[in-house]
């Protein structure tokens, strides 16, 4: 799992809104950076890393809620949640398939058909989940989210400036 990136120049006495701008900017970039080739089922860590990045972003948004305009905040959070849910559906299948494959490896060949049939069923669900994930990770949709988050960051910066 990718580690959370450190937020440079952050201090404990930082005004809340300034911290909000800095943290959300970094967490938003993490989501974008982990979005490459998430639909590739041969490397399941990509979906996992992007999912963790969306969780970190979601946590950052919720923690700093009072620093953002209400309507824009809700819209951005809903979009992040929708992406996280779609990633979660894919991830659930990835994890189960990997666990079943591990288990099947330790079995004698005549005992495998039942587990293999379950894996087959899960592969079909994984394909379906991947198809449902696809619109959420299209570059234009992620760019729109990025834009939306940038606006939140600017709002938080403006708030910090007006209160300084």
């Amino acid at each position: 799992m990718a580690k959370a990136r450190p937020i440079s120049g952050l201090s404990a006495e930082e005004p809340y809104a300034t911290a909000a701008a800095k943290i959300v900017a970094v967490r938003a970039r993490e989501v974008a950076d982990h979005s490459h080739r998430v639909l590739d089922v041969s490397d399941i860590e990509r979906v996992h890393n992007m999912r963790v990045a969306t969780r970190r972003l979601r946590a950052a948004l919720e923690v700093f809620e009072p620093c953002y305009p209400r309507r824009e905040f809700k819209a951005a959070l809903a979009e992040v949640k929708a992406i996280a849910d779609a990633l979660g559906e894919r991830r659930d299948r990835d994890v189960t398939i990997a666990a079943l494959e591990d288990f099947a490896e330790g079995m004698r060949a005549p005992d495998r058909p039942g587990v293999s049939s379950l894996i087959e069923k899960l592969r079909a669900e994984q394909t379906e989940a991947n198809a449902e994930l696809e619109p959420f990770v299209r570059s234009e949709r992620l760019a729109a989210l990025s834009e939306r988050l940038s606006e939140l960051v600017i709002s938080a910066q403006a708030l910090a400036g007006s209160e300084a």
Binding site: A59, V63, C67, F103, G114, V115
Partner: protein, 234 residues
């Protein structure tokens, strides 16, 4: 999250959030320690996740105990996550097994056609007959693994309570919030003192004006006394 104040520093708000998240996670302790309370274990996992992600961005505000608590919250989340995977997978495997059994029963019945009774050899040739054993083994494995993971979880939780991982974080949060309260009170006192000083200065300035006016009156009266009463036609 209530009581967040955007006018206060990051550390004060972080302490408030961590206090709520920590309390929430610990509240699931008694229930989650009972093996069959899968709901409480799931809730504790979500709470541990929330605590972990808040600490990831703010632990530096609360010192070393926060970094330790963040790592332990991650370990707890991982452990409970594996437990949850077993809970999700078990009914799936059982459901799959039931589907295969049902499909075989239907197919075997069809093969029997108009027979007065079912030939056991038809069941022995059921198309999924080789699947049952592996799936039953998988169910046994998942049940046993769940038991093992639950024991690890219980030991882990007891060990963190014994080591004071959460208590130390709670104390760090309480220290920060106490300092914030004292700062707020000091700021309030300073504000009150400023108001009093302004009032006193206004009072002083009013008194100076009144004194100047009285002095002028006094001077005019003295001039009148020194000059005597003017004579008519003089």
């Amino acid at each position: 999250m209530k009581k967040l104040d955007r006018h206060e520093p990051l550390a004060d708000n972080a302490a408030r959030i961590v206090r709520v998240r920590l309390k929430e996670m610990r509240s699931f302790g008694p229930g989650a320690l009972e093996p069959q309370r899968t709901g409480a274990q799931h809730d504790m996992r979500i709470a541990a996740k929330r605590l972990r992600y808040v600490l990831e961005s703010t632990e530096f505000c609360l010192g070393r105990s926060a970094a330790t608590a963040r790592r332990r919250a991650r370990d707890l989340q991982d452990l409970l996550g594996e437990l949850h995977d077993c809970d999700v997978m078990l009914p799936r495997v059982e459901g799959h097994l039931a589907e295969l059994r049902e499909a075989d029963a239907v197919a075997v019945r069809e093969r029997a056609g108009e027979a007065s009774d079912l030939d056991p050899r038809l069941a022995a040739r059921a198309s999924h007959r080789t699947s049952y054993r592996g799936l039953e083994m998988l169910i046994v494995y998942l049940q046993a693994r769940r038991g093992l993971l639950f024991d690890r979880f219980r030991e882990f939780w007891v060990e963190q309570e014994r080591a004071g991982t959460w208590d130390r974080l709670e104390r760090a949060v309480a220290r920060r919030l106490r300092a914030a309260r004292e700062r707020r009170r000091a700021a309030k006192r300073a504000e009150q003192a400023r108001h009093e000083l302004e009032a006193a200065e206004r009072e002083k300035s009013d008194a100076a004006l009144r004194a100047a006016s009285a002095a002028a009156d006094l001077q005019a009266a003295r001039r009148t006394v020194r000059g005597g009463i003017p004579r008519p036609g003089g």
